[in-house]
Structure formats: structure tokens, C-alpha cells
Amino acid sequence: MQRKSILFILITLLSAALLSAQQPQGDDKPLPGKVQRLNRVPVSHEILKVKLPHPKEVTLPNGLTVLVLEQHKLPTVSCVLWIKSGALSDPADLPGLASFTADMLREGTAKRSSAQIASELDDLGATFTADAGFGSNLTTIQASGLSESVDKFLDLMSDIVLNAGFPSTELDRFKRTEKARLLQLRSNPGFLARERFSRAIYGGFPASIQATTNDAIQKVTPESLRGFHDKYYLPGNAILAFAGDITVPQATALATKYFGPWKNSGVAAITMAELPPPSAAHVYVVDRPGSVQSNILAGGLTVRRSDPDYLALSLANRILGGGSAARLFANLREDKGYTYGAYSRVSSDIYPGTLIANTEVRNAVTDGSLHELMYEFRRLRDEKVPSAELEEAKRSIISRFALSLQSPSEIMNAWLTVKYYGLPADYWDRYADEVAKIDADTIQRTAKKYIDLDHLQIVIVGDGKEVREAASKYGAVSVFDAEGKPMEVNPAGAVSGTK
């Protein structure tokens, strides 16, 4: 009953030896810490060079782009609607409007009450989610379920998305829940770190906003929700993507039936404010009394997703902290025992993103951990990456594509990324070759450019009295409380990591 794979897979022999008992010997310095290589494990040097299947694309007369990716392994279908407007389109006095609009979609239409919608979805075993995350200009709406009920859950999805009524009784309920969620959010140390870091990087730019406010919850009305919905939920501002157990004609017919009547009108492209120039290096302590760990974030501003440097930056990040085979993990956990995990990540969007290293460490080793973070930042800037380490990082990224072929939703997401950020249509076809071209000089140049120690922002969420002294060794310190209010502000920012 297994269907033959219809995926197009090229197998390229990058090495003559199929099952060698040796991996390539490191020709440069050993990795840090106590990680040790014996090179006795059998590995295949053949890289399964995978070509991601392309979705079929259809445009409906109303301007809606429809993508379809068939994969019939399981009897389920996922349908994603990307609205290309989200939190970055929030009015300044209503942070959270995009998010409220998405959350409230399922709370009633002209035809169905909130309870009916919930009941019909659950009866089908279908799921529906709608989300407009802060720091992004996307609203992601997803319905998925058994392929036998795709007609029914598409009917529901289109009613929810096109005919949302935003009833005021449901909005009142929602507001009360949302206030409690906001209160809860402030007990989460990870959120407090993200919030302060975004403020440090983006200042008054809209991407600095990571949560709604009590004031905005108070102010939002059915009219403001309807206003956002009418202005941005338009077929010309959306992509509808089917992935899974469905055919192209079936998907096209369903899209036409349920999203064909959706009326289009123009959407003005988002105008983004200018980014403020990067601030001088600074250390922020967020005082969370009773904390037994410091949540540390450290990093700075990088590039847009469409920037040519993005790829080299991703690879540099893989070497620095992209997983448990990277430097931060080897150093802070496997060698020093400071933490359960230490990682870094690149986040990029339609505006310049960030490179952030993060770790959570017991109070007593806050200083030691910051010291090691700074050491690893400098090492990537100051020393050329050993060639064996670079080749391994490249191979890990390229080889990983084989695993992604299991998930039609993951493949679809990769192509949605291409569409949304305006990347070349053959982006993923050329990706492996582009990664392979990156050399150690490029990595070092990229690290020097984007790990900018003069403008490095460090955030420590922890018990203020336990970590204040350690923080001061790494620059001028400002202290905030968990509500986001300043307790101690140091205007003299410009001291880079000095330890």
C-alpha cells in the first residue's frame, strides 16, 4: 500500500567511497571544549541532493494566487491562507489589531455562531488556526483535516475568513481572556527577554512591539476589527496554498467555489518607517525577582530576508549556534556545564532582521556565560572558520533537505517564503549550489559585518540583585522591571563588551 515516491531525487556522488570508515580528517584546529572526534563511525559521503517539488500555481479572476502541492501518503489536506498584512500594519494606537482580527474570525459569521463554527470543525476532526504574530506583516490562517471532508472544511474556512462578523458579545469575552493572557505573558522570562531585546534593537520602529497593551484591548471595537478586515483581507493581498492528499483540478475547483466570490479592491503597499540607526552597545537587565536563572539574549541588527548576504549569514549562524553541533552548545554546555542549551538564530523579514544568541544559565555563572558568548562572537569575527568545520556546516544544511520531503506543509512553506519575500522562482533549486559556493573569507566578512560589537545589545532577564554586578562588566547598564518600566536608565550607552 505504500505508493512509490513520485519525488524527483538526484543522487550525486560527492565522494567515491560510499561507506567509508573514516570521515574527512580535520585539517585545521580542533573544535572547542571537550568535544572529541575518533572518526571511526561509518558514514556515507554521498549527499542525497534533493529537488523540492514545485507547487502548481493558478490565479483566480479575482487576483487570488492558488498553490497546490500533491502528496498522497496520508489521507489529509492542509490549506493555508496567507494574508500579506499583519501586525506591522497595526495603527500606532492599537497594537494587536491584526492579531485580534485573526483571533476573532472564528467567533461568528452571518451564517454561523461561534459555537456552531467550533462544533462543525470538531465534528469533521478538522482544525482551524489564525494568527498574526508581532514583528511580522503576515496573517496566517490554516484549516486542515481529512481529505474526505476537504469540501466541508473549505466551506467553513471561507465563511470564517470572508464573512467574519465580529459580534460584540464575543469580543467582550475575548477582551477579558486577552487581558488575562497578557498578564500571564509577563510571568514568562523568555517573553520578557524578547520584548526588551526588540525595544533595544528597533526603538520606535513597529517591529519593536512584541505584545498588545491593556489600553489597546480596552479600545478595540467591532468596527476597528471590521476596518482592518475590509482593508486587508482581499484576494489580491493573499495566497491560498493546498498541500497533501488533493489533486490540482480538485483544489482549483474548491478554491474557485469558495474563494472565487471574494471581491478584490486595491491594497496600498505597506510603507515602513525608516529604521533608526543602530544604538551603541548596551546591557539591559530585566528584574524578575525570584528567578533562579538568567535568560540571556545578545545580538544585533542584520539584513532583510531578500538580502544577498542572508545565505552566508545563515551559514555563519549555523557555525556559531545553529543546533547542538555548533560552537555555543559545545562551549557553554558540553565544556563549561553552564546551561542546558545555548543557540543562535537569524530572523529576517521584509525589514532588516537580527542575529541573536540565547542561553539560560544559573545566576552564579551569568558572568562566565556572557564571557563565553563574547568569546564566541569574537572568534567568528577574528578567526577564519577551519575548512572542515565549514564543509560540515554546509553539508548539514544541504543534506537536511531529504528530511523535509516527508512534510508537504514544510515544502509548501518553503515556496510561500519565496513568493512572499520576492525571492527568485528557482531559489530552492539553486540553494544547495549557492550554499556550496560560500567560502571561509565570506563567512568571516559576514561575521565582522553583522556581529557588530560596538552596537551589540545584551538583555539579561533574572533576579536583579543577583546579576546586576555581572552585567556591568559588559557595558553601560539600564534596568527595567517585568512590567517594562525603567528602574534605572544609563544614557551613556557606548561601551562595548569590555571583559
Binding site: 496520508l74 489521507p75 478538522a126 483535516g145 536563572q293 556545564g337
Partner: protein, 455 residues
Amino acid sequence: MHSRKMNSRKKLPLICALLLIFASFTSAQTRLPKIQFTDTTLENGLRVVIVPDNTAPVVAVSMTYNTGSRNEKQGRTGFAHLFEHMMFEGSANVGKGEHMLLVQNYGGTMNGTTNSDRTNYFEEMPRNQLDMALFLESDRMKALNITQANLDNQRNAVQEERRLRVDNQPYGKSGEALESMVYDAFPYHHSVIGSMEDLNAASIDDVKEFFRVYYAPNNAVLVLVGDLDTKEALGKVKKYFGDIPRQSAPPPVDMTESPHGKERRSTMEDTLARLPQIQAAYPGPVGNTQDFYTLQVLSNILSGGRSSRLYEHLVRQKQLAVNVFAGIQERRGPGLFRVVALPRPGVKPEDLEAAIYDEFEAVKKDGITPQELEKARVQLLRADIQGRSSALGLANRIGMLTVYFNDPGLINTAYEKIAAVTASQIQTAAQKYLVPENRAVVITTPHVSGSKPGL
């Protein structure tokens, strides 16, 4: 079709049978695809389950050991998990940390997880790296490298994991407190992560002894899923694992619990929390029993989706809760039917708590509707299908079912048992298990420390 066993229908009262026939008009036609597998035991006792699946060029290797925190000794809570960390620290032919480097550098993912009832280790790799994954698993089963430096290092990592997940999170310690009140017998009385004190006490000799007793081929199940040839893969398994000697069977674990006789309650103050929280639990049936599957369906009716009773009544209509969850956890010993709820600000925790119990009483008194039963079946069918979307998820699940219940075939038959659950069984099970005298309750309240926050 799968969702209804003909022989069970005969046992139902006529009215229920008619309702079921009515309900079948709306029921899902989708069948759970049958998974074909081979089940072989090597001479040294290693059980090997292989599932060929060529839909993607991927193989998953999952090794499940028949050990977990239930096998720990008094004074060594957290040890099974600490030991799991030691399994990544090197073996005779694999250096410290080399395992993680190799798997990720060749495009794979890997990890290990520990719960009360089993410990598993897994790799998901491009299909041409099957030998690598098998070698890595066999070398550490054969000859783990146990050193004081590695133990001290991983003890630190695990203690940070405890701080990250428990001590530095709101309500982090409430779940631990609850389980210690539900279970009197040691195996489930303590948490998987263990206490700082016990983690500090773990010695090199403990590691060596645990390795000898539990990390033997006859105490493990290896599952391979993916783009492979069964015969060839089995040949490789024999090559890498065949010469690892079997050990004597580990000592049995006594999981017997006595009835409580009356409700147990406690309150906790939490410096990190902003809102009160209610956690309650009832001892439940062991896994893979009629009662377990019955309570699984009931869990879905109570809190699966927004049309579920607890969400619709307590979150949306009465607006007593920000969120509320109720569900049974599948275990080898007595399961845990757990409730977690967050009262809306201004609502007294006792009012929400009483409203939750009212919902349970309603099931006990009036039962559930045919529509609710059919909805739960479809939702659980969908969940079962979704659980097969990755080779790794499937491999881990088969490994768990085989170690827990000695039956890899449950991957195909568990859903049939779910689909056969009847409305009257649900009502009876609610009456049997959701009993106030058996309940344990922890109410957590925010604590504002006396000392002013500051420096």
C-alpha cells in the same frame, strides 16, 4: 469499517444501537492505513521492528529501553534522565559529543527522551546514513564511556534543565507536587527530572550499575522506519548488535497503589506566577486497557477542541476560565487523569474548581450524546493519522507500544479499540474513576515577595 466492531454492537441496549446506526450517517469514511511491519528478536534478546516506507528518502532509527524514572532507587530521583544524557558523552568508538556532530553534520536530527516508563534514543537521517545511526546506537549499548568529568558536566546540564523547565517557570513545581500526592508508591511518586539533592548524589558507580542492568539488548526495542529494504536492514542490525551479550532481566517494579479513601489537597505560593492555577488529578487505569481507551475518548469530549464541554461551558459561556484542560495520560502503571485550569482574573479558584467537577458529575449522571462520541472518534482518527506524518514519530510510537505493552501491532489496533468505545462505557468509567475521594488537588496562588523587587 474500522470504527465499529460488529460484535460489540450486539451487547448494547437497543436504543444505543439505533443511535449508533443514526450516527454512522455522519461518520468518517476514512480508514486508518494498515502499517506492515516485521517483528524479529535476535538471539541476544534485542527485539527489532522494521517498517519499510519509500515515500521519502529518509530512515528513522529509534531505540527504546525498558527503563525510566520508575526504575530509579530511593535517593536517586532524576537518575534515569541523567543517565540518558551520559549516552551522548561517547563510547568505545565514538568521542564525546561526536554523536551529535555526526548526525547533524550529515543532515539528520537526533535526541533522547526519558519519561517514567521508558527511555528512547533516536536518529532521523537521509536514507544512506542507516549504517551511521545503527553503529552509533550499537556502540553506546556495547561500551559506553563513563567518566567522572562527563558525569559532572552532564549533572550541571541536567540541573540547568530542571531550573529552565521547573524552578524558573510559573507553576513549575505544582505538577511535581500533584503527582507526589496522587501516587504513594515510589515509582510514580517522584518526578522524572528529580531533585537537585538526588542529582548531586549520583555517582560513577550508579552510572555503571544502571548501564549494566538496564542497557542490555534484551531490555530494548529497536524500530526502523523508512526507505529501506527489510532483509538488508535486518542484516545490518545483526552485524552491529548481534555480538552484544544479554544480561539477566532487571528487577521487577512494584507499582501497586492503595486507594486514598479521601480527597488530598494542598496549596502552594508561587513567586513567579501572576494568576492562580488549579491542578487536580485522579488515579486512572493502566494503558492499553478498555478503561484507558474509554477515558481517552472521554478526555476528548471534555477538552478536545472548542466545542468540547469544558471549553464551551467554562471558557466561553460561563467565562470562569482563561483555559482548562482535562485528559488521561497513558502509562504502564496506573494512569493519571489530570485537570489544569486557569481562572479568569476576578473568578475565585474554588468557583472554577466546583464548575469543573459539575461537568464531571453531568457525565456520570446523564452520559454523553451520540454526536459527541462520533466527534471524538473522528478527532482521534485524525490525530492517529497525523501521528504518522514522519518516519521518526512513527518509529518512536511503535517503540513505546512495544516496550509498554509487548505489542507493536497496537500501532494498527489501538484505534480500533478507541472506535469501539460506547457511550455507556464512558458513563460507567466516569463513575468509576472521577471519584472525589480519589482526587488530589493543588491550588497555586501568586506570591508577592515581602522584599521589594530591586537591586
